[in-house]
Subunit: 247 residues, 2 copies
DNA sequence: ACCGGTAGACTGGTCTGACCAGTAAACCAG
DNA sequence: CTGGTTTACTGGTCAGACCAGTCTACCGGT
């Protein structure tokens, strides 16, 4: 015979649930406005602090945004990966997630994204990739920040070409965290120009494979490029963790 | 010449940042207690409502937990994927993330996890997998809930064998969301027993491949099993999205 | 007819102070 | 040593207040 722990449900929590439900069910759509805090407090029959704590939770989840003075009330936002990204950031910082884990994961994601993109890409996607690659070419002379930005755009375009939002989002998150961890080292690299030229060549090769719908090749190139570019920053005794993915 | 939008920083937000920083930097470890709200309000020199809104945000991020009456104060929690899972849940419900996206993503994750697990597994991991498989065998006669539980344990053991927390966490999240979407259909399937026996056979085959360190084979089996088991629930016109991963 | 400024009625952000129910630890009677 | 009781806290909630900001509708000047 087993009992479950009893835990009282807080008032603000029930407010959160009701508003969440209204959003998920579609009764409230992105762009819509919630009633003002003072109005909500009479509708829910709770104090304003309770309403505010509920709104704070929803705001932390990136579901609403409120600006002081706006008489239209808090705005309901479209679902965005921002909250997911923050959660993952926190995990990566607080937990024992090392660069080798991140890189391994990125090789998995990018490898699969390239494979899928090669098979599923449309002409529009190819045009987008061409544009991103052109931006990288001009970025070489404009400085590392510009180049890095274009590089990110290229990878995001590939993720989008798969048509899978999960790949887009998690790819974006992992890339962000990886960059954050090693951008210092990249900034102070000796031969940034040579580095950029190497990357550029890699990307051109990848794009050719995607144009040819050769998913396996694109995937292999992408993973190899990741290994070549980043393995130096991984402690030597952990590099073997990445090798199985290159087979 | 470009200007950036100016946005005032809320007081509660700065409180959140300070506490977050203390946790991330390790000055405060999981299990530690924060000062009471009344104590925090003098330390930060803000009102209690401000302190409470900050704590609410941290609580929504699963970083702290507070119980009324506990004189030791709010507890700092260990980093957990719970917040990440909620974020992803929200995205999956609110955004246009379909079963095909989830399944595609799961095939990517599970496929890679099996590949890595096969190469990196230790004897301990194998023992764990054996135990999980045994639990599945007895689960067949105990009912679908038991079996499903053991199945999840098996997949989690494989993810752990890779040694990569990111694979463990994201795998767990995606499995959870997939299950939530189709558990109704599974519950009401006609021949659950036959279903369970098929899955069991799949898992035994996979475990053999992992024991043989044949990563490529294990990966292929895992992805094929996912397709075989779940493709029926994916709209027919979207099934082609999954095929490139089976090559 | 248009325009710029302004007044007012709101908004959210914050603070204060109060009350309640809950917890834990110290205390105390058996 | 045990079981209840007291006590001093805790967090949860509410009420009321003030401020700075923003929108809107109005109004006077051109």
């Amino acid at each position: 015979m087993e009992f479950e722990p009893v835990s009282p449900v807080r008032a603000y929590q029930r407010v959160v649930e009701q508003i969440e439900e209204a959003v998920f069910s579609g009764r409230i759509k992105p762009g819509d406005r919630l009633p003002s805090e003072r109005e909500l407090m009479v509708q829910f029959d709770v104090g304003r602090s309770t309403v505010r704590e509920a709104l704070r939770v929803l705001q932390a989840a990136e579901m609403i945004r409120s600006r002081p003075g706006d008489p239209r009330g808090p705005e309901v936002l479209a679902a965005s990966p921002a909250a997911l990204r923050r959660s993952m950031h926190r995990l990566a910082r607080a937990d024992h997630i090392g660069l080798s884990d991140l890189l391994q994961f990125r090789m998995v994601l990018d490898g699969s994204a390239h494979l899928l993109a090669a098979q599923l890409r449309t002409e529009d996607h190819l045009a987008e990739l061409d544009a991103a690659l052109a931006a990288m070419r001009t970025g070489v002379s404009k400085g590392f920040a510009e180049f890095s930005h274009a590089d990110v755009a290229f990878h995001e375009a590939i993720a989008r070409a798969t048509g899978n939002p999960l790949l887009v989002i998690s790819g974006e998150v992992v890339r962000g965290v990886v960059l954050e961890l090693i951008e210092d080292k990249l900034e102070h690299a000796d031969d940034r120009t040579a580095l950029m030229r190497t990357w550029l060549a890699h990307h051109e090769e990848v794009l050719d494979a995607i144009r040819d719908s050769d998913g396996a090749h694109a995937s292999r190139l992408a993973k190899q490029a990741l290994y070549d570019n980043y393995a130096d920053y991984v402690p030597e005794e952990q590099r073997h963790l990445l090798l199985p993915l290159l087979a």
